[in-house]
């Protein structure tokens, strides 16, 4: 059986983003079909599909929906803030197949009986914003959004909301704050689980763009068909954003659990191997927040639970490949610096700790490191994420805090020698 393209089926067309192409390729049929069913039937299909959220946490979508507090007002918010370093799958879906996203959103909105839906798009996605706004405008005209959609009696408003540049707004409660017109300060869970207290205090579902983009296929083909792909809890296909030292960086939709990191990196259809035929030195699965893997773990299956068991995460579905010519200190520093620049500033450990760690790492890379800095770094990490283990404990409100140690602590654990060379030689041996 050939593996279906679930979210990338239209990408071969240059005009994949147009209403015209969308309709020609079966667009909005799923919505029509869904509206004829009962909302709980759609929810049932999604539960059957076992679609895991594609935003990072990998929570079962059906279960998330079932946790919504009963209330006359409910919101659906689609998370298109994609800012996790090395993750670029949502941008592609947004720019290249906006109608699929809109249709998926409408299906979900119907399934959870939302009273209003928002698609939050990262502000820097200028083209993406134009495309989704167009798609929404067209869908209004087409009768797919608005009052009494396709004569079904179901009505909903869908608002495209631009972000304005802040990684933390990808975190669902920060995203909600941002959508309320506030600074993106994550809320404290408990009690602010969006399903209970979300946007404007009302129950809210926050789902990722890719999660939503799967909806039309699931409705058209049934949850069981989706669940028949992959293995265990990791069902369906998934988009992996492959970048770094591979010959062909890009987004690849592969069946979950059936391939390994090695397949993805070396298969000529995907990564096509490492540049200059170099050896892989380390990979970072799941975005910059994830602990690192060494080459010994390349044969791990692309399976959410398997990766978690091995001590990291599939997260946002990105894979960064670093070859033997890469300086691990520099790589870890750059990620630490990212968190330093993106900390929202609420929590002391994250606000101050990220800056401190950034500065120490920079000093080591620049050749002014001291041996005791390594213990200091590990201890500072421990004060942000007690235990520095996976999954992490935290002293902060949100998990940006404990993401800071990931690159730093794991690179020290895996490449302590390389740090010591920096310290002893007074500089970076790779430069």
């Amino acid at each position: 059986m050939s593996i279906p393209k679930i979210v990338t089926s239209r990408l071969g067309f240059d005009d994949s983003f147009t209403m015209d192409r969308y309709i020609k390729t079966g667009g909005y049929q799923a919505l029509r079909k869904a509206l004829k069913a009962k909302p709980e039937e759609i929810r049932e299909e999604v539960t059957t599909s076992n679609l895991l959220g594609r935003g990072g946490a990998g929570f079962e979508t059906g279960r998330k929906w079932s946790m919504l507090r009963p209330n006359p007002v409910r919101y659906l918010v689609v998370n298109g803030d994609e800012s996790e370093p090395a993750t670029f799958k949502d941008r592609m879906l947004i720019e290249r197949d906006p109608h699929q996203l809109v249709e998926g959103t409408l299906i979900a909105a119907y399934a959870i009986q939302a009273t209003q839906a928002f698609i939050f798009i990262r502000g820097e996605f200028a083209l993406g914003l134009e495309r989704v706004i167009n798609a929404v405008n067209e869908a209004y005209e087409y009768g797919a959004i608005g009052e009494n959609i396709f004569g079904s009696g179901f009505s909903i408003d869908l608002v495209v909301h631009p972000g304005a540049g802040a990684y933390i707004c990808g975190e669902e409660t920060a995203l909600i704050e941002s959508l309320e017109g506030k600074r993106g300060f994550p809320r404290i869970k408990p009690p602010f689980f969006p399903a209970a207290i979300g946007l404007y205090g009302d129950p809210t579902v926050v789902n990722n763009v890719e999660t939503m983009s799967n909806m039309p296929w699931i409705v058209n083909n049934g949850g069981a068909a989706f669940a028949s792909l992959g293995e265990g809890r990791s069902t369906g296909t998934r988009l992996f954003a492959l970048s770094g030292h591979v010959n062909q960086p890009g987004n690849y939709e592969v069946e979950m659990s059936k391939s390994t990191f090695r397949d993805l990196i070396y298969n000529p259809e995907y990564g096509g191997g490492v540049r200059r035929n170099n050896q892989v030195k380390a990979i970072i699965p799941g975005g910059a927040s994830a602990p690192w893997f060494g080459p010994d773990q390349l044969d791990l299956a692309l399976d959410q639970d398997a990766v978690a068991k091995a001590g990291s995460m599939l997260g946002s579905g990105s894979i960064i490949v670093m070859d033997e010519e890469t300086c691990m200190v520099r790589a870890a520093w750059r990620i630490a610096r990212f968190f330093h620049r993106e900390s929202c500033g609420q929590c002391t450990p994250c606000r101050e700790g990220s800056g401190w760690i950034d500065r120490i790492m920079r000093r080591i890379e620049d050749g002014y490191g001291r041996e005791e800095d390594l213990d200091l770094l590990m201890d500072a990490c421990d004060n942000i994420a007690p235990g520095v283990s996976w999954p992490p404990a935290q002293t902060t409100i949100c998990v940006l805090g404990p993401s800071i140690p990931s690159s730093v602590a794991w690179s020290i654990r895996m490449f302590r020698d390389e740090y010591l060379i920096h310290i002893k030689e007074g500089g970076c041996p790779f430069r």
């Binding site: 370093p85 929404v136 631009p162 304005a164 309320e180 506030k182 890469t326 790589a331 993106e342």
Partner: protein, 189 residues
């Protein structure tokens, strides 16, 4: 100066009507103000505060949380070079050095003629074409030094005017209202 034009004021009230609560319009209104003036002027902040019922300090405080809002004047073209992990692995810092040389400014600065502001960006989700460069958030992937020089030439000569609007304009189409519009409570298109 820098107050919303009549036309933009109308747009502003349309935007506010899209949301259950006026404060939600804060970010879109700041984008609107930047599209008009290129940056977020104090006058615009004051006016946005009035429109959504906040104090100017709250509007400025909130807006300054976000990287895209500039409370000081920036160049016509905001050149952003991503140096985050994937782009760094793809040579972003080396390109950035070249950008500084070519434009004659350091990161965070604006050229004397007010044309270019250079910024070091965090990951822009353009990791499949490192290093990722954006100009007013329009993507230019896989640039090397000479392609960057060409890009600057093209921008200076106006060859890219269509593709790259001046700083502040993120999206050029208006968002549609929906139910509220149909009920006649909000904007009409």
């Amino acid at each position: 100066m820098a107050r919303f034009t009549t036309e933009n004021l109308e747009k502003a009230s349309e935007i506010i009507s899209l949301y259950p609560e006026p404060r939600s319009a804060l970010i879109p209104l700041c984008h609107l103000a930047q599209a008009q003036d290129g940056w977020l002027t104090p006058e615009a902040i004051g006016q946005i505060a009035d429109l959504i019922g906040l104090s100017p300090a709250e509007v400025k405080g909130t807006a300054s949380f976000y990287d895209m809002f500039h409370t000081e004047q920036v160049g016509e073209y905001l050149v952003g070079v991503c140096t985050n992990i994937s782009c760094m692995l793809g040579g972003a810092y080396e390109l950035l050095e070249h950008c500084e040389d070519r434009l004659g400014i350091r990161c965070g600065q604006t050229t004397k003629d007010g044309k270019f502001t250079l910024e070091e960006m965090e990951c822009m989700a353009g990791c499949d074409g490192p290093p990722c460069v954006t100009v007013n958030y329009r993507y230019f992937l896989g640039l090397d030094n000479s392609k960057f020089d060409q890009l600057v030439d093209d921008l200076e000569s106006g060859r890219l005017d269509e593709e790259v609007p001046k700083h502040g304009t993120v999206f050029r189409n208006a968002r549609q209202g929906g139910l509220r519009a149909n009920k006649g409570e909000g904007q009409t298109k």
